[in-house]
Subunit: 399 residues, 2 copies
């Protein structure tokens, strides 16, 4: 039986494709430190767990397609705290950020249309684009420049008569780059001039370091009709398994259309929404502590990376990822070698080769993404193994 | 800002579009009996609620994209009980049946391809088809014939060079029709001759009356490469809010492709999967009791409907819906009138006009779908109101 073209086209997860090598390493009895995925080890707040543990309705019912009203009302309060005034109807709750992006693409782009995405980017954007029948046109950002937003010129070069939107994550996965207000204003100018939507994936909003404050696309004036924000509780509350996100826009015509896509799939999971709702009132202190913890980890990874001769790495200011350009040819070879051949005291480390985060063929081959989602002790050990492994890998290739 | 063509095309839920009228009726202080949606009032089993209430992991993590291994293993046991032998890799857990159908369409159809669907059909198939860029070609079934599967000739008439699959629900929503083994064998013959996939939505598997036993598409031999089954726990365990379903096929190439779509959205909700997993071992006795309850309701509705002069309604043998052809012109007018104008003791009843379940323009205008999801007492009262309202509506139109 023939499969569809998109079934043949859709990218297998490059983050997950090394999993069999990790499984094999573990089968040999090795401990694998995972720096390859964005699954935080931070405990999920008690408020969330309590919502699951105390659910006592008799029937586990459908909720409304746009999400539970009380949760949307509470989200309005949450965003108010971030100086983003909203109406409840500006928000549709989704099954994680993934569905939010798919809805945004379906509602704004025709099949065959294009979106511009700064690369390296979150690999699943490829899958969402395939699902929506949309082509990604990458605009390259560079390790040497800390993956900052490219010049207007470079972005405008990518615009064709099929371009409908610019999609980006801020803070960036996999780069950790944080766009400044002036960056977003530049994007807004371009969007206004070329009649584009701006789809801003802000699931790492709280993860911003060095005293920076995060600017949302919804903070920018004059683009109310074209600004779409995507959010999720996965990282914010270390609740990746809840699959609760949302899509937000002040363009009510757009939101009414997204609601129709949402109606087709009936509703997001009900109890998980109640859990997300319970999290809205978590004290700021929680984030202060979480942020301190991640900042410590960021410094560990960054400082370790700086010890390696020949690396390129500007210290990232957001999210919990760092991309490192290594003095080797092929980071995937290195990653596989680490899992297959390397071990010290029966331990090794897994990380994501960065090539899969680029759409331009050949880019990122000598880069890796490290997710600093382990506790201090494990992270130090993992980074020691990473450096030691890299040295051995390079020596082997020289000899 | 322009929206996409599909955003303009996608059907607003015809089931939900009467909601504002119901809200208004309630605002006037009226009690509305809901026969319009498939939200069962049966209590969700304790096993499921316990899984939520006893979850005690520290971190609410992502699960695997194909679903939790232990749940998939337990699903293999569940299907074994239904004489459907499977491997765990034949199953991918989805965010409800909705996502399962979307994945099946994405993997089997190109944009612009067609699928054949017996009408009247579950309205959200329209939304899934829009999302996948696929055209639905309806093959009409008739109230007079109990909505049985059309002749081979009628089905084959709908096949074009773009047809990739036949999608159907069995037992049928909104019809309650149950396809016999011989029906599925006819579909299999057509699928083999014209190289089509068969996508069988079996979320009402357990809801089959009159001592009939349900035949799954996976019971039919010789179509292992083209049979795709869609399932969900929503109706089975009265757990609509859990949003846990699955897509199943023995075509491993197809399943590997669906897995890539699944990887893009990372995973279905984790705790809800644990809840679904806890349900696998619910005793058969549970279903016996549930079935008896629904059978009683089916008889109440059917018997009440038979009292109405001029109706067409063959007693349905599955699901918990019944379509009734009424001796009026426009069932939507009637439905709105019931909510706006009719009341007895401040009570009225809401049901779904059936036109929205047909893709062929003009069909079903004098039909309604009644969901028998209320307890005996409420259902009797609702049906009394339905009959009384219909009589008044008809008298009004005559005068």
């Amino acid at each position: 039986m023939e499969l569809s073209k998109r079934a043949l086209d859709i990218q297998a997860s490059p983050i997950r494709k090394l999993a069999p090598y990790a499984d094999e390493a573990k089968a040999k009895g090795r401990r694998v430190f995972h720096l390859n995925i964005g699954q935080p080890d931070i405990e999920t707040p008690k408020e969330i767990m309590d919502a699951y543990n105390h659910f006592d309705e008799k029937v586990l019912c459908y909720g409304p397609s746009q999400g539970l009203l009380k949760y949307r009302q509470n989200l309005v309060r949450y965003y108010e705290k971030h100086n983003i005034p909203l109406q409840t109807d500006d928000i549709i709750v989704t099954t994680a950020g993934s569905e939010a992006i798919i809805f945004a693409l379906l509602a704004t782009c025709n099949v065959g249309d294009e979106i511009i995405v700064p690369e390296p980017f979150y690999t699943n954007y490829n899958g969402f684009a395939t699902i929506a029948g949309v082509k990604i046109r990458p605009v390259t950002t560079y390790a040497e420049e800390g993956f900052t937003l490219p010049s207007n010129e470079k972005i405008i070069e990518c615009i064709t008569d099929k371009t409908r939107a610019i999609l980006f994550s801020n803070p960036g996965n996999p780069t950790g780059a944080v766009y400044l207000k002036s960056d977003l204003e530049r994007l807004a100018d371009i969007a206004l001039e070329y009649d584009l939507y701006l789809i801003s994936d802000e699931v790492y909003r709280e993860f911003v370091y060095d005293g920076l404050s995060h600017t949302s696309i919804l903070h920018i004036n004059g683009i109310e009709d074209r600004a779409i924000m995507v959010d999720s509780i996965s990282k914010r509350y270390s609740a990746c398994g809840a699959r609760i996100g949302c899509v937000i826009s002040r363009n009510q015509v757009l939101m009414q259309s997204i609601l129709k896509f949402a109606q087709a799939r009936l509703c997001p999971p009900t109890i998980d929404q109640l859990a997300a709702n319970a999290a809205v009132d978590i004290q700021d202190e929680y984030f202060v502590n979480v942020l301190q913890e991640y900042d410590k980890r960021r410094n560990i990874v960054y400082n370790e990376v700086q010890q390696i001769e020949g690396v390129v790495c500007v210290k990232p200011q957001g999210a919990f990822y760092i991309i490192v350009k290594l003095p080797i040819e092929d980071a995937e070879d290195f990653a596989i070698w680490m899992l297959e051949k390397f071990s010290e005291d029966d331990q090794t480390v897994m990380f994501a080769p960065a090539e899969g985060f680029y759409a331009t063929p050949g880019l990122g081959r000598n880069e890796v993404r490290l997710a600093y989602i382990l506790n201090e002790k494990s992270l130090k050990r993992a980074m020691f193994l990473f450096r030691k492994g890299l040295q051995e890998f390079m020596n082997k290739n020289l000899s």
